[in-house]
């Protein structure tokens, strides 16, 4: 016990696992208090239409139906949710729990039916008759951006909800001087986060206390609490996200159904629950990506980047989502486009355009899967023109160690990270030379084998000086940790984050245990509860390990000092002589030792053992703000083979090297990378939310929206570069999203490489066998 045990950095088994493995987790739908009413929604089957009339009379007569509500019934009960922004040229779009006057996408809730069971509520959907007057479709984002396009939100006066430009240097001059220019129009199609647990909400209202409690499948319980208090004008609201079955951004916004169950619970005086089904999830959970990017890259004859330009159109769907706004996804495409490279001259312009489809919101990677796809395709296209290996052109252009901190063309600062090291390490683990040689042999035998590289950098653990979404007015840059040793000696640590698969109950316990000197299994982490800490915004944007880990570190260090001071009195030494480890305070080299339990008893119960004026409560609250955040980077290398007959693409090898700072738990880091890469492979090869020209969803089940299974995902190798971040307490960097950022680009480059002999360019994702077939057919014409 002389040296403190090392807990951070070990592959500790997860503390949340036993309950989840035995069926004893507590997800929102697992809870059904006595008297619970259930909601079913009649949703719009039109993409853009005026509501002429709604007839609910039949539904009201159906068995078990307690209430049927339309927007009119909610007047005066709730204020709309408005995602404001400091961005110029931004138009907020108010969101009401049920559509008022008109509908703007297929799947938008119009009528809520409340009944004694979910079955009865759904039965009564047939008793609703809505008369619509269809309005012109606003489905194609480029057409919707035209000045004379029909408007989705008349008050905004335009469908272009956000416009932004980043400019550095003299782009046109530099581009004109470039020896090599490559350009293309790229298309990244719409995705859905598709957590396996659908969105579910349960509201309970205590009439006597005028207090509302919401159990929600949310990543952001603190933000939900804040907004509900405001729009419902209630004194106390508690929002709890218990075990949550995955989020990936899809559960990181405020939802109409979520607000509605709260209104209903208050109005009806009974618990009210809504459990979404998969069709509702596919048609109303916030969707992701969906951009058209026209980009050009200019280089000198050695392959050094001179200039980059991009015009981005982001299809944001029907509403500017709360709290992120419609700027979140498309603006980040232009702000991250220059990537980990030295780009002296840059112009990136973006328009975020409203269309009559479900709103887009955060989806793992946000903006950067598209920006990386575009930039890394351009790099490969340039390398080909120059006759350079894809690896060489990247090494030539990476921001180097001497240049950190490096301010990118869009103003992001890369503090310090191993851009070159990631590439080198990924290629080594992949056996890049060996695989290139094997590829040459395979290709000579007529096989369509391709290798692709993608490198990127991202900003994680963002502090208060930068907004997690451009212009967003709420602060997401701080995190609070409240640590306590209670009268039994138990250690609890409460946070504003909300784990939904990331294993924060384990990783944060590792940080607390090590910094405080507690036993890992004795630390209980409280998260996902707006009542746990005064302010907390949740888990998203690769922030929790950095921000909550930082707050945990600060609070645990301060609490350890208290433990030392209090124990010193009991052990008859000075505080400086006391060490704390493994749940004990002790004096090294002696038999003086006291457990947390005994210490707590002495502090709280055995009054007199510690002088009254010296007695301190064993708790600490610390706020942590990393101000700017820190850089995380990675390189992915993959090999694919395409069947020349069926064009089926098989991912055969996959290697990631990632600089995610000081690692808290390598097993959890690897798990995050695997999962994120699988989503990126899905985005590259399978997943697409297809809407027809009428705005109808054609991929409305999991038979049509293809999520990769264990057969499509290869074994994924991960090498870690364990380099402490210079900018964060604890040296942690965020890493939960990276896999999804790198994978689409790496796969696209590998597929392009495999099809190189056909002179076909990959500029659209997902690249499916059908798309390859069309590309080849068009070429033959």
């Amino acid at each position: 016990m002389q040296t403190r045990p090392k807990i951070i950095g070990t592959a500790a088994k997860r503390l949340e696992d036993p309950r989840l493995l035995t069926g004893h987790g507590s997800y929102v739908d697992d809870k059904t208090p006595a008297g619970t009413l259930h909601v079913a929604f009649r949703r719009s089957d039109q993409s853009h239409a005026t509501i002429l009339s709604i007839d609910c009379s039949e539904a009201l007569k159906m068995p078990g139906v307690v209430a049927v509500l339309t927007a009119r019934d909610l007047e005066g009960l709730v204020k709309p949710v408005v995602a404001t922004s400091k961005m110029r040229d931004y138009h907020a779009t108010p969101i009401y729990p049920l559509a008022r006057d008109k509908v703007r996408y297929v799947g938008e809730p119009v009528v809520a039916i409340v009944a004694e069971s979910r079955y009865l509520a759904e039965d009564a959907l047939e008793g609703i008759a809505i008369e619509f007057d269809t309005l012109p479709n606003v489905v194609d984002p480029e057409q919707a951006a035209a000045p004379d396009a029909p408007l989705l939100h008349e008050d905004a006066g335009t469908n272009v909800i956000v416009r932004r430009e980043f400019l550095r240097g003299d782009v046109d001059l530099a581009m004109a001087a470039a020896a090599i220019r490559v350009n293309r129009r790229f298309r990244f199609h719409r995705k859905t986060p598709m957590a396996i647990e659908t969105r579910t909400y349960l509201a309970e209202y205590d009439q006597g206390r005028k207090s509302l409690q919401l159990h929600t499948t949310s990543q952001i319980p603190g933000i939900i609490r804040d907004v509900l208090t405001d729009i419902l004008d209630l004194p106390t609201v508690r929002v709890v996200a218990p075990d949550v079955g995955g989020g990936f951004g899809g559960k990181a916004s405020v939802y109409q159904e979520e607000i509605l169950v709260c209104i209903l619970a208050r109005k009806l005086g009974r618990p009210v629950k809504w459990t979404g089904d998969r069709l509702e999830d596919l048609s109303s959970t916030s969707q992701g990506f969906d951009e058209i990017v026209e980009a050009e890259l200019g280089l000198d004859e050695q392959g050094r980047i001179l200039a980059l330009t991009a015009e981005v159109v982001g299809d944001i769907g029907a509403y500017s989502i709360y709290p992120w706004t419609a700027g979140l996804e498309p603006v980040q495409v232009v702000s991250f486009l220059p990537g980990p490279y030295r780009v002296a001259h840059y112009r990136g312009r973006v328009r975020a355009v409203a269309t009559s489809k479900p709103p887009t919101g955060p989806y793992r990677g946000v903006g950067r899967p598209t920006s990386t796809f575009v930039m890394e395709r351009l790099m490969d296209m340039a390398a080909q023109k120059l006759g350079l290996d894809p690896r060489e052109i990247r090494l030539l252009n990476f921001v180097s160690q001497e240049e950190f901190p490096y301010k990118t063309a869009s103003g992001i600062v890369w503090d310090r990270s191993g851009f070159t090291e990631c590439l080198t390490s990924a290629c080594a683990a992949f056996d890049y030379e060996g695989q290139r040689a094997a590829q040459a042999v395979a290709r000579a035998a007529g096989r369509w084998v391709g290798i692709g590289i993608a490198s990127y950098a991202e900003l994680t653990g963002i502090g208060s000086r930068i907004s997690a979404s451009p212009g967003m007015p709420i602060n997401t840059g701080t995190e609070t940790a409240t640590l306590k040793i209670d009268s039994t000696g138990a250690v609890t640590a409460a946070f504003g984050v909300a784990s939904h698969g990331q294993g924060l109950e384990t990783t944060l316990a590792q940080v607390v245990a090590e910094e405080l000197g507690a036993r890992l299994a004795a630390v209980t982490i409280i998260h996902g509860d707006s009542a746990a800490v005064p302010h907390g915004t949740g888990t998203y944007a690769s922030r929790s390990a950095v921000l909550a880990g930082g707050a945990a570190t600060l609070a645990a260090r301060a609490l350890r000092e208290k433990v030392e001071r209090m124990s010193a009195h009991l052990l008859g030494v000075t505080a400086a002589e006391v060490m704390v480890a493994d749940g004990f305070a002790f004096v090294p080299g002696s038999d003086k030792k006291i457990s947390f339990r005994e210490l707590a008893k002495a502090v709280y119960s055995e009054v007199g053992r510690i002088p009254a004026e010296a007695r301190e409560s064993l708790e600490e609250t610390k706020l942590y703000d990393p101000f700017f955040g820190t850089t995380t980077c990675s390189t992915h290398v993959t090999q694919v083979e395409i069947d020349p007959e069926t064009y089926v693409i098989k991912v055969q090898r996959y290697q990631v090297a990632e600089d995610c700072g000081r690692i808290i738990n390598p097993l959890i880091v690897a798990g995050q990378v695997h999962g994120a890469v699988a989503q990126g492979i899905g985005a590259a090869l399978f997943e697409e939310m297809v809407y027809d020209e009428m705005g109808q969803l054609l991929t409305a089940s999991l038979v049509d929206y293809l999520v990769p299974t264990a057969v499509e995902i290869p074994s994924i190798g991960v090498s870690h570069l364990d380099t402490e971040s210079p900018s964060t307490v604890g040296g942690f960097r965020g890493m939960g999203e990276g896999g999804t950022i790198g994978a689409p680009a790496a796969i696209a480059n590998a597929v392009a490489d495999a099809l190189n002999h056909l002179n076909i360019l990959i500029d659209e994702l997902p690249v499916t066998p059908e798309r390859i077939f069309q590309l080849i057919k068009n070429k033959e014409k």
Binding site: A11, K13, R14, E16, D17, P18, R19, L20, L21, T22, G23, H24, G25, Y27, D29, D30, T32, P63, Y119, D123, M194, A195, I196, E197, T198, D243, V244, G245, G246, F248, D277, R278, H500, G501, Q502, G503, L667, I668, A670, G671, V673, H674, G675, A676, V677, A678, Q679, S701, L702, V703, V707, T709, A710, V711, I713, S715, I716, G739
Partner: protein, 164 residues
Amino acid sequence: MSAVMNIKLTVNGVVYEKTVEPRLLLVDFLRQDLHLTGTHAGCEHGVCGACTIIVDGDSVRSCLMFAVQADGCKIETVESLARLGSVDSLNPLQESFRSHHGLQCGFCTPGMLMTSTDLLKKYPLATDEEIREGLSGNLCRCTGYEHIVQAVRTAVGQREESEK
């Protein structure tokens, strides 16, 4: 819709006699009527596999069966795996999922465990391809499957040990 039927079935060794509507899905029956909320519904249309349970020795999707179809059947759910269902006595497969970090959010996990239980009983699972093929009816959005495959691989090894 109001017609009801009496059913009698055994779930995790306990015999239940219940009156249910013919249209009640088995997954809803387990979760709502028996309060066995370990079995999850992820799609209710037979694709995700989260609702997988074992009925008379075979893995089935409880969202594709009505409760009345289970009349007279013997059912096992995730709650049956650990001794007395206790979090302190995980079975070897559950332990293996834990040590390999084969779960993140845990929502697909009950289905993964029940499918794997069935696979381990019936198939050699000599290669990872076979394991991946066997798990291909269960979607996981969190893990990328790598650690799940490793967990099942270890369980295959343990099965062979115990057979020696």
